[in-house]
Symmetry: C2
Subunit: 129 residues, 2 copies
DNA sequence: GCTTGACCTTCCAGTGACGGGAAGGCCTAT
DNA sequence: ATAGGCCTTCCCGTCACTGGAAGGTCAAGC
């Protein structure tokens, strides 16, 4: 399989696949002409990465998870630990965004949004001085 | 005021303040020795920026908002428009994170987290092949 | 055999919004 | 004179890619 086929089948851009090789997440073989020659196992790893990235895991998390995935003697506790930390980061992020969202929604609500210059949004932003 | 005082009073790191000058958000005067000499108006702009950034506005949004803030002939509709677009971006982000969070929470819930290798998290991630 | 076009390769630069750290100048107090 | 705490600029690193240039390869059609 060339990179184009793998890109199609994994849903990842070719650029991203090359990047993953560069940082050592995959190590596809090479044909005589220098083209990358992907095996099914490479595709499997890429599918794993695509799924993990879609869940928001960092690249370093992905590296750890792939190692655990390929270690038959892993402890599920190690996997769970990585996932729980990530979950906590996501919860923090959501809470932060919700805070912003609520404030913003109030301000937008209060703004007439017409041709006049009076604006509670700007008033709020400039209130610190 | 030197940059250290302004950093303390605005809550922004000195590095950030220098960066804001570099990208043209503020234009503090200079003393004869080359030190930045901040006026109250500069501090006011920085407080505005700190507040806008805390609400998640991008730097480019901040530039626009500052321009509107300093334009007595602005239309509040323009401000509201910027804020509404930002609000929509935040809502998208929250929805995306909530999707991740729900899936992750299910997986974490299902994982025993003990010394055994069986792990629904890894099973899910590897399920694509 | 030649051209065309779709592949593939590497390398370099840019993204957003800073942060770290080096090398060096300035200012105040002792 | 020296110490230390400011300040300056400059350059590199972050994260996970993305875009684009310059050039090699391959299969199809004429």
């Amino acid at each position: 399989m060339n990179i184009g086929d793998v890109a199609t089948r994994s849903g990842l851009p070719a650029k991203t696949i090359r990047y993953y090789e560069e940082i050592g997440l995959i190590k596809p073989a090479r044909d005589a002409n220098g083209y990358r020659a992907f095996a099914e196992a490479d595709l499997h790893r890429l599918a794993f990465l695509a799924r993990a990235r879609a869940l928001g895991f960092t690249i370093e998390d992905c590296r750890t998870l792939l190692d655990l995935y390929n270690d038959p003697d892993r402890a599920s506790a190690d996997v769970k630990h990585v996932a729980e930390e990530h979950l906590a980061r996501i919860d923090d992020k959501i809470a932060q965004l919700r805070g912003m969202r609520d404030t913003l929604a109030d301000l937008v609500q209060a703004c007439h949004g017409d041709a006049r210059p009076d604006c509670p949004i700007l008033k709020d932003l400039g209130a610190g001085a």
